[in-house]
Amino acid sequence: MMEWLLPIQNLLGPAWLPVWTVVKIMVIVGPLMGAVAYLTLAERKVIGWMQIRIGPNRVGPLGLLQPIADGVKLLMKEIIIPSGSNKFLFIIAPIMALMPALAAWAVVPFNAELVLADVNAGLLYILAMTSLGVYGVIIAGWASNSKYAFLGALRSAAQIVSYEIAMGFALVTVLMAAQSLNLGEIVRGQQGSYGMLNWYIIPLFPMFLVYLISGVAETNRAPFDVAEGESEIVAGFHVEYSGMAFALFFLGEYANMILVAFLTSIMFMGGWLSPVPFLPDSIVWMFAKVAFVLFLFLWFRATFPRYRYDQLMRLGWKVFIPITIVWVVVVGGWMQTPYWLW
């Protein structure tokens, strides 16, 4: 597709494919890390405005260099390994938390062409990868050999297990509607002549809400941040972590937030499709929708008190799972009638 690359391709011969894939991965992960860094700044600024304060404004113009300063600070810090901890697991845990958060990006389409791996089971792959993230949290809590961290890990394990199910069922309705597990196909299934009205958010609105809320819970964000529980178990699973080991958890959390925002816009809000018929489809729409969902994440954090851990489980098991199961049946029935317009 890109003719100017042909000479390099000929030069490398069989080594071309791995090299080219690595380049593509870097092109995705690099900007992603940048996005994560600036999402932290955006969070502090947005919540700052909501809380009638200014937010970081000292480092660089308008505080724009703040995330870089934070990153440098964390890099320079010592990684303290508690003496009672299991060293191997303690080090491996943050890697386990970040790795799946990055790996999931392989199948995320940015627009009709831009996707690293256009696999048919994309949705399944995403579900598998996002569920792996919890192992990092559990291992971290266990390896720290601290009571607070252990409680955080227990909470996290319970939480992710319950929300995974609701999330999975919500996505089942999407794949029923799209009749495909391929994320690109799911977006194309929402194409039509009515713009926004063709998106799955219209017929699947309850599922959209369930998915969004489960997404917040899945990423351990307020008001579901019981695994961290700042005011209860201090920092939960990562209470013993410092320096770059802590930063990896942090990066993982924010990369997951962005991932959930991307998935929400792909599954329910038509991905790169334009909301109105007279404007062209473009990657800009994708980013706008992602920014909107991310803003919701920040807004929730500024507004809501934290759930208690048992209440959160109740919400997952007694509210979301019944709703999703009912809606799966409703959508199934609806699709058999001529009134299914999507």
């Binding site: 009638i52 008001p223 201090v234 008190p305």
Partner: protein, 417 residues
């Protein structure tokens, strides 16, 4: 199979929700609390003993540092105890000023409580909203006493000086330019009373803002309704006072039951709860803020119309004016004696009590006729409230411990003294 044992966890003193230096030893069955053992004393400064070695006047600033979020209420109890023993007359204007500042203090305390309680439960924004209003009230403190927190403004026999005619102004700086400063100073052009009146006009809207964020919030209700229930009988038996007692439905407020200062001349209501849970205590305190605002309004209008002396003219207890001191030998001697030896309080004992934002704050003062107290005993409401903690948290979860510490409105300055 190994035996399943309960889990013991140390909660605090270095914990974000320990409200200072509370150390709790929690016995946990999973996340459920089996037993909570509060350990105190980490902020003990020996206030009672220190007061025995200082003149009566020098102990006033120690009172600020007891419950350091409701400074002037502490002072009120202390100066009232001296007034009881000596029998000095306090001018009515001073009584009104004291009531006004007691209520400002109550709002300050409840704002701090609401912010911290919200933060404990995870609602961050309320905290910053509350601090925005605290700023104005602390400015009122500053205008009247020169200090934003530890005011040392009340004196035996009145208050240190009359309310100022002007407010401190912001000055332009690197952060605020002249235009921004002008806006900040807009409501500071008149006297302190004008500033406070402006505040009382704005404050009900602010309380509405907090209530929008919390009162009907489903998560807030789930976190507070039915948490830490105290029955009226148990509350009375445990010696609990203040909003904690009123949250349980006992209508007990010293401002109504044994009116002191000018409270009998003012019109206000006492909110009481029904279920005695954290949510009711929240509602009680929020309503108390509104009532305090009402009291402040009445005080402002009274103080505007009734100028007069603000401290007793008995120079055995209050210093004479500078001018008369320069011209009059007797007043010079009074001044000298008062600031070297201090006042002499006749032999006897007195218990003075005020309705402090946290409950019944009492000072038991024993004097042997010297210039220092023979014994000063402080009855801190927080101490009695904290002793009910174990009973309140049993069977709840860790997250609820934080809610209950918050709802008790604990400040270690007064508990450890």
């Amino acid at each position: 199979m190994p035996e399943i044992k309960n889990y013991t966890m140390n909660f605090g003193p270095q914990h974000p929700s320990a409200h200072g230096v509370l150390r709790l030893v929690l016995e946990l069955d999973g996340e459920v609390i089996v037993r909570a053992d509060p350990h105190i004393g980490l902020l003990h400064r020996g206030t009672e003993k220190l007061a025995e070695h200082k003149t009566f006047l020098q102990a006033v600033p120690y009172m600020d540092r007891l419950d350091y979020v409701s400074m002037l209420c502490n002072e009120h109890a202390y100066v009232q105890a001296i007034e009881k023993l000596t029998g000095i007359e306090v001018p009515l204007r001073a009584q009104y000023i004291r009531v006004m500042f007691d209520e400002i203090t109550r709002i300050l305390n409840h704002l701090m409580w609401l912010g911290a309680h919200g933060l404990d439960i995870g609602a961050m924004t309320v905290f910053l909203y509350c601090f925005r209003e605290r700023e104005d009230l602390l400015d009122a403190y500053e205008a009247v006493s020169g200090a934003r927190m530890h005011a040392a403004y009340y004196r035996p026999g009145g208050v240190y000086r009359d309310l100022p005619d002007s407010m401190p102004q912001y000055e332009a700086s690197k952060i605020h330019n002249a235009a921004a400063v002008k806006k900040l100073n807009e409501n500071r052009q008149g006297s302190l009373l004008d500033f406070l009146e402006d505040f009382t006009r704005r404050f009900p809207t602010y309380v509405d803002e907090y209530e929008t964020l919390l009162t009907d919030n489903r998560i807030w209700k789930q976190r507070t309704v039915g948490i830490g229930v105290l029955t009226p009988e148990r509350a009375l038996a445990l010696g609990i006072t203040g909003p904690m007692l009123r949250g349980s439905g006992v209508e007990w407020d010293l401002r109504k039951k044994q009116p002191y200062a000018a409270y009998d001349k003012l019109d206000f209501d006492i909110p009481v709860g029904v279920n005695g849970d954290s949510y009711d205590r929240y509602l009680v305190r929020v309503e108390e803020m509104r009532q305090s605002n009402r009291i402040i309004k009445q005080c402002i209008s009274w103080l505007r119309q009734n100028p007069g002396p603000v401290i007793t003219t008995n120079h055995k207890f209050a210093p004479p004016g500078r001018e008369s001191m320069k011209q009059n030998m007797e007043e010079l001697i009074h001044h000298f004696k008062l600031f070297t030896e201090g006042m002499h309080v006749p032999e006897g004992e007195a218990y003075s009590v005020v309705e402090h934002p946290k409950g019944e704050f009492g000072i038991y003062l024993v004097s042997d006729g010297a210039n220092k107290p023979y014994r000063l005993k402080i009855r801190a409401p927080g101490f009695a409230n904290l002793s009910s903690l174990d009973e309140m948290v049993r069977g709840h979860m860790i997250a609820d411990v934080v809610t209950i510490i918050g709802t008790q409105d604990i400040v270690f300055g007064e508990i450890d003294r």
